[in-house]
C-alpha cells in the first residue's frame, strides 16, 4: 500500500501556497485597490469608492500621449520583430549549414545582457554617431531585446512541424514565394502569435531601455509612471497602472486561447 501525502504536509502545503500567492498578487491588488480611492492621497485600503482618478487619467494629456506613444511603439516593435525574427528562425531551424548552431546562440545572446547595460551602450552609440536618442533609437533598442523571443517561439513550432510538406510543395512545382506563403509561414503561425505577444508585452512594459533612448518630449507609459513615482504620487498613477495591468491580463488570456497555458509558462523565460 502506498501511503498518501500526510495531512500535515497537505495542510502546510495549502497554507504555504495561499501565502505565496497573496505575496505575489498583493502589489497588484494594492495598485488596483488604491486606484478607486476617493481621497486625494494614495492610500490602501481605499477611502470611499470613486472613478475620479480614471477620469483624471483619461482627461490628462500627459498620460494619454504617453499611452499613445507606448501603443505605437509596441506595435511598430512587434511588426519589426516578427519581420526580422521569423525569417531568421526559418533559416536556423529549417536549414542545416555550417555554423547554424553558433548562429542560433548568437540570436539568443541579447537575452544574457542586462537591459540597463544595453540601454547605456545604445545611448553612447547614438550620442557619438547619431543625433542622440530618438523614437527610432527606441524602436531599434526594443527590436533587439524582443528578437530572441520571436526567434525562439517561431523556432519551437518549426521544430515540431512537418518538414516534408515544404519538400512536397517543391516537387509539385511551387515556386519560392508560393512555398513560403502557402506552406512555411502557415506552419509558423502559432509561434508568430506567441512571439508577437512577447514582443508587444516587453516593449509596452519596458522602462529601462526607454529611460536612456527616449528623445526629449517623448514619454512612454511606464516612464511616465516611473517619473511620477519619483516625485509626488497621487492615485492617478494607480489608475494608469491599473490600465496597464488589465491590458496584460487581457493579453495573457488571448494568447492562452491560442497556445495553451503550458507553452506560455515554458516560453516565459
Amino acid at each position: 500500500m502506498v501511503g498518501g501525502i500526510p495531512l500535515v504536509a497537505r495542510f502546510g502545503g495549502a497554507l504555504l501556497l495561499v501565502l505565496v500567492l497573496v505575496f505575489m498578487l498583493v502589489p497588484l491588488a494594492v495598485v488596483v485597490g488604491s486606484s478607486v480611492s476617493a481621497s486625494e492621497f494614495l492610500v490602501f485600503p481605499p477611502r470611499g469608492v470613486s472613478l475620479r482618478w480614471y477620469e483624471a487619467v483619461l482627461s490628462s494629456d500627459k498620460y494619454l500621449s504617453a499611452g499613445w506613444t507606448s501603443i505605437q511603439l509596441a506595435l511598430v516593435v512587434t511588426v519589426a520583430s516578427l519581420a526580422v525574427g521569423t525569417p531568421a528562425a526559418i533559416a536556423l531551424y529549417r536549414f542545416r549549414f555550417p555554423g547554424s548552431e553558433a548562429l542560433g546562440s548568437l540570436f539568443l545572446s541579447p537575452l544574457v545582457l542586462p537591459t540597463l547595460i544595453f540601454g547605456i551602450g545604445m545611448l553612447m552609440l547614438f550620442s557619438r554617431y547619431g543625433s542622440g536618442p530618438s523614437f527610432f533609437a527606441l524602436v531599434l533598442g526594443h527590436l533587439v531585446i524582443t528578437l530572441p523571443y520571436v526567434v525562439r517561439t517561431v523556432g519551437a513550432v518549426l521544430h515540431g512541424a512537418d518538414r516534408h510538406a515544404e519538400e512536397a510543395a517543391r516537387t509539385m512545382g511551387a515556386n519560392l514565394w508560393q512555398r513560403y506563403w502557402f506552406v512555411v509561414l502557415p506552419q509558423c503561425r502559432e509561434g508568430m502569435a506567441a512571439g508577437a505577444f512577447f514582443a508587444f508585452n516587453i516593449s509596452f512594459d519596458d522602462a529601462v531601455v526607454a529611460l536612456f533612448l527616449r528623445a526629449p518630449g517623448i514619454d512612454t507609459l511606464p516612464l511616465r509612471i516611473y517619473s511620477e513615482l519619483e516625485f509626488s504620487p497621487d492615485p492617478s498613477i494607480a489608475a494608469a497602472s491599473t490600465v496597464m495591468i488589465f491590458i496584460t491580463v487581457a493579453m495573457i488570456f488571448v494568447i492562452e486561447r491560442i497556445l495553451g497555458v503550458r507553452r506560455l509558462a515554458g516560453s516565459g523565460r
Binding site: 501511503g3 502545503g13 501556497l17 505565496v20 500567492l21 505575489m24 498578487l25 498583493v26 502589489p27 497588484l28 491588488a29 494594492v30 495598485v31 490602501f44 531568421a88 526559418i90 533559416a91 536556423l92 536549414f95 549549414f97 548568437l106 540570436f107 545572446s109 541579447p110 544574457v112 545582457l113 542586462p114 537591459t115 540597463l116 547595460i117 544595453f118 547605456i120 551602450g121 545611448l123 553612447m124 552609440l125 550620442s127 557619438r128 533598442g141 527590436l143 533587439v144 528578437l147 526567434v151 512594459d205 522602462a207 529601462v208 511606464p222 509612471i225 516611473y226 513615482l229 496597464m244 495591468i245 496584460t248 493579453m251 495573457i252 497555458v261 509558462a265 515554458g266 516565459g268 523565460r269
Partner: protein
Amino acid sequence: MSSRSEPFWLLLPGLLVLILAFFWPVGELLVTSFFTAPQAGAPPAGTRASAGLANYAKFFADSYYLGVAERTFRLSAITTFFTFLLGFPLAYIMARAGPRLRFWLIVLTVVPLMTSVVVRTFGWLVILGRGGLLSKVLEWTGLSASPIGLMHTETGIVVAMVQVLLPFMALTIMGVIAGIDPKVEEAARTMGAGFFGVMRTVIVPLSLPGIVAGSLLTFALSISSFITPTLVGGVRLPMMAGGIFSHITGSLDWNFAAAMSMLLLLATLAVIVPYAMLLKRRGA
C-alpha cells in the same frame, strides 16, 4: 535563388540588426570604459582623451564603490535564497496539481511576471511606506506598536525583489519537476519513505538542475536590476545599476559608468553562462 543561399538571405536582416544595434553598442561601451575624459562631460565632446585602466582602478580603489558592489552581491544572494524558499514549494505544487489548479497557478504566476516592473514596484511603495499596508497590518495584529516603514531599507529592497523574481524561479523549477516521473515518487513511498523523506531523497536531488538553473537566473537578474532597488532603496542605498545610472545622468562621467557597466556585465556573464550550459545539457 538556390536553396544554398536561402538561409543567408533569411538571416541577413537579423544579423544586420544584431551587429549594428547589439554588438556595436556593447563594443562602444567596452572601448569607452578604457578612456578617461579631461573633465567629465557627455559624449561626444572630448571623452576619449587618454587610454588606460584608470576607470577600473578608480572603482577598485574607492571604498564607496566597493560598498555598492558588496551591497549588490549580498542583497542578490539573500533575494535568491528567499526566492528559492518560496519558489520551490510553489513549483512542486504546480507540477503535481490537477490540470484545473495548475492552469490557475500558472496564470497567477505569469500575470505578475508579465506586468511592468514599474507597476509592481509601485505596489510595493504603497505597501512598504510609513503608514502603508504592511505597517497597518503589523499594528493591527499587535506585532508592532508604532508605525514602521521599510522604504529606503535593505529589507524593503529584498522583499520587493523576491516578489519580482519569484516567477522566474518557480517556472524554471516547475519545468524540471514536471519531467520527473511520479512513479519514482510512488516507488519511494512504497518502499516506506515518508513524504518529507521522498522530498529530501528523491525530488530535491532529481530537480537539482532546475534549482541551480533557477537560482543562477534569479541571481543574474537580481544583480542587474534597476527599477526596484532604485525606487525602494532610494539614492542612499544604491546597487550597481543605480550607481551606473547616476553617473550617466548625474555626474555625467560616462567613461566611469561604462567601466562599471563592464564589471556588472562580467559578473552577469559569470553567472548566466553556467545557466545556459545547464539548460543546453537538459536539451531545453
